[in-house]
Homo-oligomer: 634 residues x 2
């Protein structure tokens, strides 16, 4: 065995060198340290059907150290899944073999990696999905040693230990060298072992270039019950080529052609070893319940209910109708109301405690294996997982996010708990869908549509109870909006969503008393935005639009409305934005909406000012100086 494996490992190194030298960039040294681990795993332990990469019983392999993808691509070649010609297209425009793994183009990988420290959390999701579906596959996550500095890694260690995921195996390629300096822990395997064990793992250290020791460690991990296993492999970066092995200064550098030649010679020359990766056992019946008809919750018009509660009710309904729905929450299920789902479907609810990064990546791991994952916490705290959300989009994962307690209207808890940047953040996620319902029926109807969407979806919910505006029969297509008030006398359009829509409706009534007619639009679909209706409203309301939002003025509803008026054949109307511009404090919701200038009274004032015959002012702007911002209470 050792001979074939050694041959294979040498080939993985050689191919990693060949393709990176051809590309003129990439990470051969980080690939070479991991080559023996990958060789043993693929040849002896991984059970994977390359003809059916998405087969439910396939073991999963996550290359968390995504920059080492040359060794993975080389293993794919050895397994016959790609050919040498394709391997040599690494990093070229149009190649499926990007600089870091990307499942959009290469379905052989499940997730995008390259932002370090996310793979293990994804593996936690895969391992939890396996357990949920009673599938026997194992999940292997290959990590770099540098990335264990990321806290997200310890969130994942913690969760895997907590959930006793003995179907999960973490592989740490302890090659001692980071990008610019030695790692914090160097070759101190005992330090890694102590950390893994303190988080509830079985942990062993082995020589990562001793093929038999590697083999034994994998076997040991497979036999371990009740605990995940972490294998710490002591390796050398650049192992196999004496010039660079264990030398600093070779991170992310391809070998020049002469050095590549020398290295390949030292490694015994090019060869064509093939791996016969074992296939998994035939799929067992999943025993999953059949889907049933969706029965969304319904609320009476005029009743007061918080949209966060409607989220919980609708999530429960979705979960009852669809056995593929899972829910994750960061220990605030009694605030987000995902507890409604938790109570009814405890086996499909996953308590992620206060660890938002791991929560999102775990959802990604479940999602790419077919679950419809709903993730909830306070909207402010989703900012904790922005990198994970960004990467989830790159992973082509469908993950449904819900952020509660948005905006100043949460009241007394103060600004640390108020999401004021969540819309900006979520709009700027590739391919995302962003909705912001204003009433309970709308929330339910939107959630039922989001579950059919691809990619990252975001629903912003509100803490306060607000009146139900729409009958339960109303439809709310994503990409649409609702014109709630209109006449042929409208002198302006007021656009709101969520909490501010209610303020806009109050303002409408006040203005109407004064004989001023305005159009009121509920812009529940923030991305995509209803271009057609907004343009029509601008045309029909004298080109005046007032947008009011419980969010910083950057990146939210206002920017979404402006977007509708861009393009060659569009022209901007007059757009006035009411948004949060000063740091809010604590107080009652009404006090804070007023202090932020986004309540009915301020809408009335702004409309009044807007419809006055103001001359164009093109010289001055009246904006604050850089870096100044006040406090509303000051």
């Amino acid at each position: 065995m050792a001979d074939t494996l050694a041959d294979l490992a040498a080939q993985l190194r050689i191919d990693s060198i060949r393709c990176t030298t051809a590309a003129g960039s990439g990470h051969p040294s980080s690939s070479m340290s991991a080559a023996d681990i990958v060789a043993v795993l693929f040849q002896k332990h991984l059970r994977f059907d390359f003809q059916q990469p998405k087969a439910p019983n396939n073991d999963r392999f996550v290359l968390s150290k995504g920059h080492a993808c040359p060794v993975l691509y080389s293993a794919f070649k050895a397994a016959g899944a790609i050919d040498d010609t394709e391997l040599m297209t690494l990093r070229q425009f149009g190649s499926r073999l990007e600089g870091h793994p990307n499942p959009h183009v290469l379905p052989l990988v499940d997730v995008a990696t390259g932002s370090l420290g996310q793979g293990l959390a994804i593996g936690v999701g895969m391992a939890l999905a396996a357990r949920l579906d009673r599938l026997p596959f194992r999940t292997y996550v290959l990590m770099g040693d540098s990335e264990t500095a990321e806290g997200s890694v310890w969130e994942a260690f913690d969760k895997a230990g907590h959930y006793q995921l003995d179907n999960l195996c973490a592989l740490i390629d302890m090659n001692r060298l980071g990008q610019s300096t030695e790692t914090e822990l160097g070759w101190d395997a005992d330090a890694y072992l102590a950390r893994a064990r303190a988080f509830g793992w079985h942990a062993v250290a082995v020589d990562g270039h001793d093929l038999e020791a590697i083999d034994r460690a994998f076997t040991e991990a497979q036999g371990k019950r009740g605990q995940p296993t972490c294998i710490v492999f002591k390796t050398q970066k650049g192992q196999g080529y004496s010039l660079i092995a264990n030398q600093p200064g070779w991170h992310g550098k391809p070998l020049p052609e002469d050095k590549a030649k020398e290295a390949i010679q030292e490694l015994g020359g090019e060869r064509d070893v093939r791996i016969q990766v074992k296939k998994p056992d035939a799929m067992r019946p999943s025993g999953q319940d059949a889907a049933s008809a969706l029965k969304l919750p319904m609320y009476e018009v005029g009743q007061k209910e918080a949209t966060r509660k409607a989220y919980g009710d609708a999530l429960l309904a979705l979960g009852t109708a669809r056995p593929d729905v899972v829910a994750l929450d960061a220990e605030v299920s009694n605030s987000t109301y995902s507890q409604e789902f938790k109570k009814a479907h405890p086996q499909r609810y996953f308590e992620m405690y206060i660890a938002e990064q791991n929560m999102v990546s775990t959802a990604v791991g479940m999602a790419v294996l077919g679950k419809r994952a709903f993730v909830s916490t306070f909207a402010a705290f989703l900012s904790r997982a922005y990198d994970q959300i960004r990467m989830a989009a790159l992973s082509n994962a469908t993950v449904h996010l819900c952020g509660s307690h948005a905006g100043v209207s949460i009241g007394e808890d103060g600004p640390s708990q108020m999401a004021l940047e969540d819309l900006a953040m979520m709009r700027a996620v590739g391919g995302s869908t962003v909705v912001y319902p204003s009433d309970a029926n709308q929330t339910a109807k939107l959630l039922a549509q989001l579950v059919e969407c691809q990619g990252i979806t975001y629903l912003r919910s509100t803490r306060e109870k607000t009146p139900v505006l729409y009958p339960a029969s109303e439809e709310f297509p994503i990409g649409g909006c609702k014109v709630l008030r209109q006449s042929d006398q409208d002198v302006a359009t007021v656009v709101g969503a969520g909490i501010t829509l209610h303020e806009a409706l109050k303002a409408y009534a006040l203005l109407k008393e004064d004989g001023v007619q305005v159009r009121v639009i509920d812009l529940y679909s923030v991305k995509p935005v209803d271009v057609k209706t907004l343009r029509k409203a601008a045309r029909e309301t004298q080109g005046r639009i007032l947008v009011v939002e419980d969010h910083w003025s950057e990146g939210g509803l206002g920017d979404a409305v402006l977007e509708a008026f861009t393009g060659e054949r569009a022209r901007l109307p007059t757009v006035v934005r009411l948004a949060v511009k000063k740091l809010p404090g604590s107080g009652k919701p009404d006090e804070l909406l007023s202090a932020a200038g986004i309540d009915a009274e301020h809408i009335v004032d702004s409309v009044t000012s807007l419809v006055e015959d103001s001359p164009l002012d093109t010289e001055s702007d009246g904006r604050p100086e850089a870096g100044t911002w006040g406090h509303t209470n000051a």
Copy 2:
């Protein structure tokens, strides 16, 4: 001693109950578990001059579990720093005593807390600052047990262990109960101890309601050399009132008036104990070097240099001129070029390894103690620390962020390494300043201004070398822009910044060959944006503006330009946006700029199309459906 302390602790509990019951919201039970710890610390160990809260020798106390602020405010009252009348304004509009501590209004606290898991990392920054300035103060961080689920906490444990911060003390209030459920580790003190020790800490567990044991633990921590100390306090949530002590369901709930009365009675009734908090020793001379004149680097026009390199050069120059400048990097100093500073000022460079969350919070800890902290990593990975950045703004901290490797122009590494959302993210930070230089001299000049700004500043740098456009003598005021090309024949304005400005200049030349004159604007100041110049350009170039950016179309340069045309009296141009709309892949920078539709050729095409006599189209929009996004290589 025990009697007075017990009396004080009872008073802290009573006052925590009184003020939350008066407020009708807040977290008495979480305050009560910590009351004995706070009483002993304030009475016996903390050295703090309440007359001079910012005195350099004061010990620092960070309440990481910010929701327990009633006990902190109650301690401030006992120390005479606030009075009972003010205490009873808790959570009211206009009060300095917000639902979570906020230094904008209450200078007695150094930082805003309330997003859990950030306090220890801030403490790391304070402890590093103490060491740097050879100041003898100690930093205490009081954490909840639930928040140890946050990975950021383990990043901080890791760094404090790595840097052997024996002037730092972490206090874990292990009260077993989270918001909605029991914590993962319950009362398993050994698990906490094992984790802390595995990360290099001295760690002890004590009964958090045994005043003498608490006292001894603090004394032990003060005596420990070469290691930070973690004290795990076994406590009961709601301790002191038998009805709620150690009972679930009382998180974040004030006691109703009758129960409050009962609790106060059980606690022995109201009293007025005063703490005489010890003052620190008189300030020793810091021995800090004097500031010297700033000598910024200079580059020749036409020379090619990357703005990331200019960032490093300018940071070095700032560091040489100003002894208060410190730099932190997430192990990519050879990519961001903060290595230039590191080489010259190693004692003021802090290697934060791949742990962006801790890096930002550590910078906050240093910043609030007077350092000018510069933080750099790949722009994409600053998304990892968005919550920390958000909270840094709430902390009123001045932190200078630099994100390198922005946009598709990084080339072969692929989308995981490309920041395409960073401008959206940074614009939506309260009070932030955002700049995006296009050449080396501009970078240096902007950095020299940013160091004078308050709040969060962000500089976006570019991987590729680009030609120097401006002489070293040029000035670039923040809030301004540069009109690089203009004539009285301009038919449109092209706005670019950073890498796309160079494409805009190429497009200008191509268009000019065809007899088409356009204005070209370098919008280096993204927030605040130069409203006046943009409006003037729109007026003078037939109301046509084309914005081109290496960023998703949401939240970046395009939205910043649109912002300039909002407001009652704005004149309204046609705005066309070229931005990244499909998932990029790997490839050469030029290939990727072209594939994203943001290179010179696409600018030429768009201008040409824009100036053709297109009718306004207000009916259709031609936007993609929700949830669809392609891949440029597909």
